[in-house]
Symmetry: C2
Subunit: 263 residues, 2 copies
């Protein structure tokens, strides 16, 4: 048995989820907390990397003993895992829920897809409560601009080659992915929210999409230009890469139903 | 002419609004920014003190030259003040809007009252996006508990002696205040929000009210006990003082209509 964790984090102070040579990774912090909770070294494996400064509302990772038996190792009731970890995690990382999964479950390979939300704050003033938690776009977006973003987002949906929406220099050779849905709306808190789900994401894909949609809002591109951009398979045809602080990994989809517990 | 600012701040890193011997006050930061924007020393005067760690959504303060003429000193169009200050303020303090007021306007004495919001997060897990921005109450509050809090809050409304809801040791001798309204609701984001307006507040008044309402939620007190607490004029009869991080100064009421500008 392995444990699957659903975690939430404010990414501001971190170099991303994955351990790196330099920098403070979420994975390191969780690995240290796991050893404190269980009393022996654990492996923490994530469903994806996230960039420095990117946030998560529902990131998934497995936790299991580093060496030794995978049976009967978990001394904490699964529904109380979130509380046990709360004692050892800093306030910007939290376990939301936990579940039991089989020994061969891999949080990345078992994933059928993921959902991201990109938040944009275009209010007239800099909101201190939004700083670092949304992309600050000082040029306001009109109602018509939001509609243009929504129309542009619709053109992202489907099985397509997203080379144009991948950071140049990326080593991926097959950039074909299926975007399951893509929506833009003005939320009740005033934030513009771009929500996008796909069976897989390329490096910087959501951030380039968000930047391109903002360019559409202001008339630099027409919503229909998205199709031309995709056909060109050229990063230069799409818009700018929006900043990491607006990006949230919101959901991970798994084939099997996960029995999340949080008592 | 003086300028009246409406400001918002995340109080986590500050010792409060007012300058103190030790500590990093909002007033200091604003005073320094004002000198940079206008090119000469300015006086910044607040509508109240706030405690260390307390936040503001609509704090009001005046800004005027420290010495010299109060005519034609403001080189920035009032509607653009928020942008001019954004260049010099840290991301946790922001000018939301500005207005012109007369030379004799005092942001505290001209105030007819203020509104505070106290936010409580009682979710099953510690939410990293809420840490430091609400009081973390791990013991969940039921729907009935929220109703009990609301009923208790209703008993706070009116012209009463709030000695029992004032920090002991406070030097105020007349603790009679008029609470204009007091409401408790579960907001759409899951937070329990206690909103209270009064013509004046005593030291720790809202935080003691919030703590007492939570005690009512869990049955330590009945909503009707609020009346008995008020009559006793004894701090010990009321509940605990809830932590500063849940408290937001949300509005300041003025007799005259303020022409807020934010272009």
């Amino acid at each position: 048995m392995k444990l699957l964790f659903k975690i939430s984090y404010l990414g501001t102070e971190y170099s991303g989820f994955q351990c790196q040579k330099n920098g403070n990774a979420i994975q390191n912090v969780l690995t240290e907390a796991a050893e404190k909770v269980f009393g022996f070294p654990c492996d923490v494996t994530g469903c994806s990397r996230t960039d420095a400064g990117v946030h998560a509302l529902g990131f998934c990772c497995t936790v299991a003993p580093k060496d030794g038996e995978l049976d009967n190792w978990c001394s904490v009731p699964v529904g109380k895992i979130h509380r046990a970890f709360a004692q050892y995690l800093p306030s910007d990382i939290s376990v939301i829920a936990a579940a039991e999964v089989s020994n061969d479950f891999h949080p990345r390979y078992a994933s059928k897809g993921k959902e991201y939300v990109y938040k944009i704050w275009d209010g007239k003033y800099d909101d201190p409560f939004v700083a670092g938690r949304a992309y600050r776009h000082r040029r306001g977006v009109s109602d018509d601009g939001v509609r243009r973003m929504q129309k542009a987002a619709e053109n992202l949906v489907g099985y397509k080659d997203f080379t144009s929406f991948m950071a140049s220099g990326s080593k991926i050779t097959d950039a074909r992915r299926t975007v399951l849905y893509a929506n833009v709306e003005r939320a009740t808190d005033g934030m513009i929210c771009f929500t996008v789900a796909a069976d897989g994401f390329l490096y910087n894909m959501v951030r380039i999409m968000a930047g391109t949609l903002l360019d559409c809002a202001h008339g630099k591109y027409e919503p229909e230009d998205i199709n031309r951009m995709i056909e060109s398979k050229n990063r230069n045809s799409a818009g700018f890469t929006a900043a990491p602080e607006g990006l949230y990994l919101s959901r991970v989809f798994y084939e099997e139903e996960i029995e999340w517990k949080c008592d």
